[in-house]
């Protein structure tokens, strides 16, 4: 297998030394950063300006409470009693998330009081509408006199679709009204705040040895395994394909096959290109990892309570293994495609078909999370095309016997080898009978014949 190493070395070095690799390694994070930062910047631009609200308090006594409550609602982001962790924490209700997102943008709110002073409501509204139209105001709230007994308040705004604002207003308003109701019964305000604190739920998985905390982040890490495979395939599938087709297009295949058997050649290409992909990802990973450790440390230094997802070392090893198997699996499917087609154009139709099983695996994730012990979950985690996505999900959501994980890895590994062998075989025979593109029955015949 010395020749395998020679092939791997060439595939790896020629790619890593290319300008394209250096450029994409540098540009990759910049583009990714742009994708993440630009939308946030755009969102900030809109909420960055002061939101000006007016409140028509027809009760005459609740204005202060509503104002404080809405402003509180908008700036509660630094409240340490709220659950920390990732900004997009799916374990929370949608309103909760929206609220947090709203707070993250922290638009300043200015609230002015409009005293009815005996004027009819219609007059006031006409005047306020005019101010909204002149953009002196973003909106106003009309609190009816009998709001405490359940009458609805009304919000008039330039942009009623801005649901961040309306949720803040609704929450603030109802809290203020509740407080007022309780205050009317004589309950102390501080006690009140203490009592109305939210409850957050921490979830734990019971395993044989210990109970591990599992606060949802681990679940995202698991989905990350699948996503990473998906991203890698989208990014490097084409490279695998063109690597396999390179000798076909440059007609080097014949001289290579006079020195090395097709299987080491194919395996060498697969491993070489994959190492290039992993190198690039490792560079980015170290960069992102370094930055996030720095970021977490800084935030912790400022008193923020952030948790780093807790995953056992064994599981990390499993995730890495399934990630590798998954990547090689789909890369070898691309190698098979590359060995069948004659030109890159011809491959386009096949490429989409190849990742369909990967996409279907993602659809299976949710049923599997709900019942990880079902038959479908078992087979999806054993079947080689879906196991790299599904097995990590099962590992995290239930305690699995080792043989299942081992079997899944073994079948995955076997499939990669089989696909590579298949690609090598189709490639060699295809090279010997150049001319037209092979039909599927022909390919099948090649595989059966020597």
């Amino acid at each position: 297998m010395k020749k395998l190493l020679t092939i791997i070395k060439r595939e790896y070095l020629t790619r890593v030394n290319s300008k394209a690799f250096i450029f994409s390694t540098i540009l990759g994070p910049i583009i990714m950063l742009a994708f993440m930062v630009v939308p946030v910047l755009i969102a900030m631009m809109e909420t960055g300006e002061v939101t000006r609200l007016a409140i028509v308090d027809q009760t005459g006594r609740i204005f202060d409470r509503v104002r404080d409550s809405i402003i509180n609602e908008a700036s509660e982001g630094s409240d340490p009693s709220l659950p920390g962790g990732l900004p997009m924490d799916m374990s929370q209700s949608p309103e909760e998330r929206a609220r947090q997102a709203g707070m993250a943008m922290k638009g300043d709110i200015k609230i002015e009081k409009v005293a009815p002073a005996g004027r009819p409501l219609e007059d006031l509204k006409r005047e306020l509408n005019e101010r909204v139209r002149r953009k002196e105001l973003d909106g106003y709230i009309v609190i009816p006199p009998d709001v405490l007994t359940g009458k609805k308040a009304e919000y008039y705004g330039r942009n009623v679709g801005d649901f961040m604002n309306s949720i803040q207003i609704e929450e603030g308003l109802s809290r203020a009204v509740n407080e007022q109701r309780l205050a009317d019964t004589g309950v102390d305000q501080n006690l009140l705040r203490e009592m109305s604190k939210r409850v957050t739920l921490d979830t734990f998985k019971v395993s044989e040895e210990t109970e591990e905390q599992d606060s949802g982040e681990a679940f995202f890490l698991v989905l990350g395994v699948g996503l990473l495979i998906f991203i890698m395939i989208l990014m490097y599938g084409g490279t695998v394909l063109s690597a396999v087709m390179e000798e076909k297009e440059t007609r080097i295949a014949e001289i290579l096959f006079s020195s090395v058997r097709p299987f080491p050649l194919m395996l060498g290409k697969l491993v070489g290109v994959s190492l290039v992909a992993l190198t690039q990802f490792a560079i980015w990973g170290l960069l992102i990892g370094g930055l996030s450790i720095y970021g977490v440390a800084t935030l912790k230094g400022q008193g923020m309570d952030l948790q780093i997802p807790s995953v056992s070392a064994a599981n990390v090893v499993y995730f890495v293994l399934f990630f590798l198997i998954g990547f090689f699996m789909y890369a070898s499917i691309y190698a098979v495609i590359g060995s069948i087609v004659r030109t890159y154009d011809e491959s386009q139709g096949f490429l989409l078909v190849a990742i369909v099983p990967l996409i279907l695996s993602f659809y299976l994730v949710f049923p599997v999370v709900r019942s990880p012990e079902s038959t479908i979950a078992f087979w999806a985690s054993i079947f080689p095309l879906s196991s790299p996505v599904i097995m990590p999900v099962r590992i995290i959501s239930q305690t699995l016997p080792f043989w299942q994980i081992g079997l899944s890895l073994l079948i995955g590994f076997g499939t990669v080898i089989l696909l590579t062998w298949l690609a090598a075989r189709i490639y060699r025979i295809g090279m010997l009978m150049y001319g037209k593109r092979a039909t599927i029955p022909e390919v099948w015949r090649w595989v059966r014949e020597s």
Binding site: K3, T14, I252, E254, I255, S258, S259, R428, L432
Partner: protein, 304 residues
């Protein structure tokens, strides 16, 4: 290695692709230290035969022996192969590329690097060492390809149409190298459909047509056994004699000369007499050996 040794032998080798038989019951023996010409028209089965010898594809039946052993992947390292389908990695530097091909033959390290320098010098391509292949002209690429075939100093060199597309100067350069290999006791298999070339360079030949062997032997034996005589003739008149197919099998007219291939068993003396009797004025009458080209044409037309 003595010349009695056999470097490559094929025994009753057959290779089919689906319904098409590319090589049919072919037996041949390539003697060590000689240049063996595998000749035949396009599509005769030359390339398939070579591919079986270099272990790219396996025969359906029959046996192939290399260096006196059953063929194995290890004997691949002792072969240098220049395929008809030429190709190099376009984006790779010349020196890296040659080292890669050498390493695939298990030839590496300092000696391989020295060999690359030596061969580039020999081919007058030193200044291109660190250039990429795509910067090279077709002819230069051809020479790089040739280096890739010989760099590991193989015991058996297989050249499939090696000189196609080369200018006369480079052709002489490569021919000289091939003859050096022969002088060093190496065996060379030379596949071509250019008869003049095969005639000049080969010791032994094997003529293949329609996936079967037509004849095999040393060039001298092949010519002798052909049993025909050609006459190079410069004369005025005598057309009646030349047109008589019982005397002259075929006539090839050149500018001011006629090359007449005599019919089987016809004595040239008789032809000369008949010509004189017919009143022809003869300025040249010379017996010439039949060319490989003549034999080739004759043998192929026999088959149809």
């Amino acid at each position: 290695m003595t010349s009695s040794q056999t470097t490559v032998s094929l025994e009753h080798v057959t290779k089919r692709f689906a319904e098409f038989t590319a090589v049919n019951d072919l037996s041949l023996a390539v003697r060590a230290g000689r240049i063996y010409g595998l000749i035949g028209p396009n599509g005769a089965g030359k390339t398939t035969t070579i591919r079986m010898i270099v272990n790219i594809t396996a025969p359906d039946s029959g046996a192939i022996q290399l260096f006196g052993q059953q063929m194995n992947a290890g004997s691949q390292d002792r072969i240098g192969y220049l395929p008809e389908e030429r190709g190099l990695y376009r984006k790779m530097r010349i020196s890296d590329q040659l080292l890669f091909f050498a390493e695939l033959k298990d030839f590496k390290g300092r000696t391989a690097k020295d060999a690359v320098d030596r061969w580039l010098e020999r081919m007058k391509l030193v200044e291109w060492k660190n250039k990429k292949v795509e910067a090279l002209s077709k002819g230069m690429q051809q020479k790089i390809q040739f280096i890739a075939a010989v760099i590991h100093d193989p015991d058996l060199l297989i050249l499939d149409e090696p000189f196609s597309g080369l200018d006369p100067i480079n052709m002489e350069l490569l021919k000289g190298i091939v003859l050096e290999f022969k002088a060093a006791g190496k065996t060379i298999i030379f596949s071509t459909h250019l008869m003049e070339l095969a005639e000049k360079i080969c010791d032994d030949i094997c003529l293949i047509n329609r996936s079967q062997k037509v004849l095999e032997g040393s060039l001298r034996d092949v010519k002798r056994s052909f049993g025909r005589t050609s006459v190079a003739l410069r004369a005025e008149g005598g057309d009646g004699v030349l047109d008589d197919r019982s005397i002259v099998a075929s006539v090839k007219r050149q500018s001011d000369e006629v090359e007449a291939l005599l019919a089987e068993g016809v004595d040239p003396q008789i032809v000369l007499k008949l010509l004189l009797e017919s009143g022809a004025r003869i300025t040249k009458f010379e017996l010439v050996e039949p060319t490989l080209h003549d034999i080739f044409i004759e043998k192929l037309s026999e088959g149809t």
